[in-house]
């Protein structure tokens, strides 16, 4: 594409956006609406992943250690467990630690645990294990169970699996929701470009008989679609950012279990996606329209 021609395509595209003012505004508005909903799905998806990661880190597997093991054997066992794929951390939690922990959570009844120190401690030494990827819980537990020296593996199976189910569910809904909205936007842009083609049919006729190549005629419409898509995406991004800053600022106060992702991190993830999706749906919308309504 020659630089001269590129300038011409862009100027024609911008001119056409303004010339079809009302229709362009309508399509940009529609793209904004779709992108806002798409953005909400993205934000939910990003935050569910973020929260799931936080909860995953809190979800622990407890592997009880053979009582006959001495310190050296326990250390060796810890090292072996750490070496298993998908294990993030494996910390030794002695029976003394367990007793202390039980006292802490027993509040007023802590005195009931008096006299269970030393030889009389009924608890067992264990390894507290966290995973890198919760979705690989079952195979990791299987590998863990095969390790010699531990007696029993315990984990909050239902809680962990529910987190997994919810986060996967939201990911799926988000994906199909985004896809559906992208398709809607594509067809709305296609309709706008159809009107632009109609408005410029005389010019297109002149271009054809003067000897314009097919792509010389197509490019301004493709660029027009991209402009509509990207402008819509940027406006939606601005609105979503504004809403996110306002809401998350308030929501993050008073929640201890997890926090929402900071705006800066969300913005970095979203801006590129928004502009790319805007440009792609704009270009696709134009392409569909050109194919159908522009006989070049």
């Amino acid at each position: 594409m020659k630089a001269n021609n590129f300038k011409y395509y862009v100027s024609q595209a911008v001119r056409s956006v303004f010339r079809n003012g009302l229709m362009s505004v309508t399509s940009i508005f529609t793209v904004v609406c779709c992108m806002i909903i798409l953005g909400l799905f993205m934000i939910i998806s990003i935050n569910v992943n973020h929260i799931a990661q936080q909860l995953e880190q809190q979800c622990e597997i407890q592997a009880f250690i053979n009582e006959a093991y001495d310190d050296a054997q326990v250390s060796a066992l810890q090292k072996q467990v750490k070496g298993i794929e998908n294990i993030a951390t494996a910390e030794i939690f002695s029976k003394e630690d367990t007793l202390e922990y039980m006292r802490e959570i027993s509040d007023n009844n802590a005195a009931l645990l008096d006299g269970y120190e030393g030889e009389d401690n009924p608890f067992r030494d264990s390894l507290k294990i966290t995973l890198k990827d919760l979705s690989l819980l079952k195979p990791t537990v299987e590998k863990l169970s095969a390790v010699e020296g531990k007696e029993e593996v315990s984990y909050k199976q239902t809680v962990m699996e529910n987190i997994l189910k919810v986060s996967n569910g939201i990911r799926n809904v988000s994906f199909w929701g985004m896809l559906l909205l992208c398709i809607v936007s594509i067809f709305i842009i296609a309709n706008t470009i159809k009107l632009a083609v109609y408005a410029r049919r005389k010019e297109i006729g002149v271009m054809k008989f003067v000897g314009a190549t097919d792509w010389f005629i197509r490019w301004p419409f493709i660029i027009e679609g991209i402009i509509i898509g990207v402008v819509g995406a940027l406006i939606a991004f601005g609105l979503i950012s504004w809403g996110y800053i306002a809401l998350v600022g308030k929501a993050n106060i008073g929640i201890d279990i997890f926090t929402f992702k900071a705006y800066n991190e969300v913005a970095v993830q979203m801006i590129g996606m928004f502009v790319s999706i805007g440009a792609v749906i704009g270009a696709l919308g134009s392409a569909i329209s050109i194919r159908k309504h522009l006989d070049v």
Binding site: K2, N4, N5, Y8, K202, E203, G205, V206, M207, K208, F209, V210, G211, A212, T213, D214, F216
Partner: protein, 229 residues
């Protein structure tokens, strides 16, 4: 330059617009294609522009068989043929200058070339002082002159005029034809489809007459109708 060999065109609805038409036009000739409305003149111009393809026969322009062209090559054929129409087909939202420059932009001419060529063309068609006017501010004769200037913008070897005087008053029509004769005198091959009897009879150039799609006459210096002897 242009050769039609047994060209037949039958449209999808079964209408036979041209039937076994053959002729050859030399470089630098001025040829009138005459015939009543619906005789096949427009089909002939559309075939030359490759807006239609012949059902049978062959069309050769400057050594290239038109129907053998790939889709991507058609624009380049069109660049070798300047076209003017009865309805001028100017862009009303652009000035006279921009209308002519537009044809050059399309083929990738530089701004410098455009700045040099457009005033030259305007002077040639006698519209030097009208560059900044819009088509709606021009008379019909002036609008057709702009269309001629645009058709010549990329120096095509052939100028195809499809009923260029049909919507003009007689005096203006003659002025346009005079202009086309001037252009022809500079070496451009001119093919003009018309049913303007006075013009054909006055200018006295080669006449190809078509009736009901059939070539009925090809006179090297003829009139609109066969002269009675």
């Amino acid at each position: 330059m242009i050769t039609f060999e047994n060209v037949t065109k039958v449209y999808e609805d079964g209408t036979k617009a041209l039937d076994e038409v053959s002729f050859h036009i030399e470089k630098g000739e001025f040829v009138f294609v005459v015939g009543p409305s619906g005789s096949g003149k427009s089909t002939l111009t559309r075939l030359l522009m490759h807006e239609e393809t012949p059902t049978s026969g062959s069309i050769t322009i400057d050594g290239t068989r038109v129907q053998d062209l790939k889709r991507k090559d058609i624009p380049y054929l069109r660049r070798s043929i300047g076209v003017i129409f009865q309805d001028f087909r100017l862009l009303d939202d652009r000035t006279v200058y921009e209308n002519i420059a537009f044809a050059m932009q399309i083929v990738g001419a530089s701004k410098r070339e455009i700045r040099r060529q457009v005033p030259h063309l305007l002077s040639m068609v006698g519209l030097s002082g009208k560059a900044k006017l819009f088509p709606t501010q021009l008379s019909r004769g002036e609008a057709q002159r702009v269309a001629v200037a645009r058709a010549l913008a990329n120096n095509p070897p052939i100028l195809l005029a499809d009923e260029p005087t049909a919507s003009l008053p007689p005096k203006t029509s003659f002025e346009i034809v005079e202009l086309l004769c001037d252009i022809n005198a500079r070496g451009t091959t001119v093919v003009m489809a018309t049913h303007a009897k006075e013009i054909v009879d006055t200018v006295h150039k080669r006449v190809i007459a078509i009736e009901d799609g059939v070539l009925v006459r090809d006179d090297s210096k003829g009139g609109y109708e066969v002269e009675s002897k």
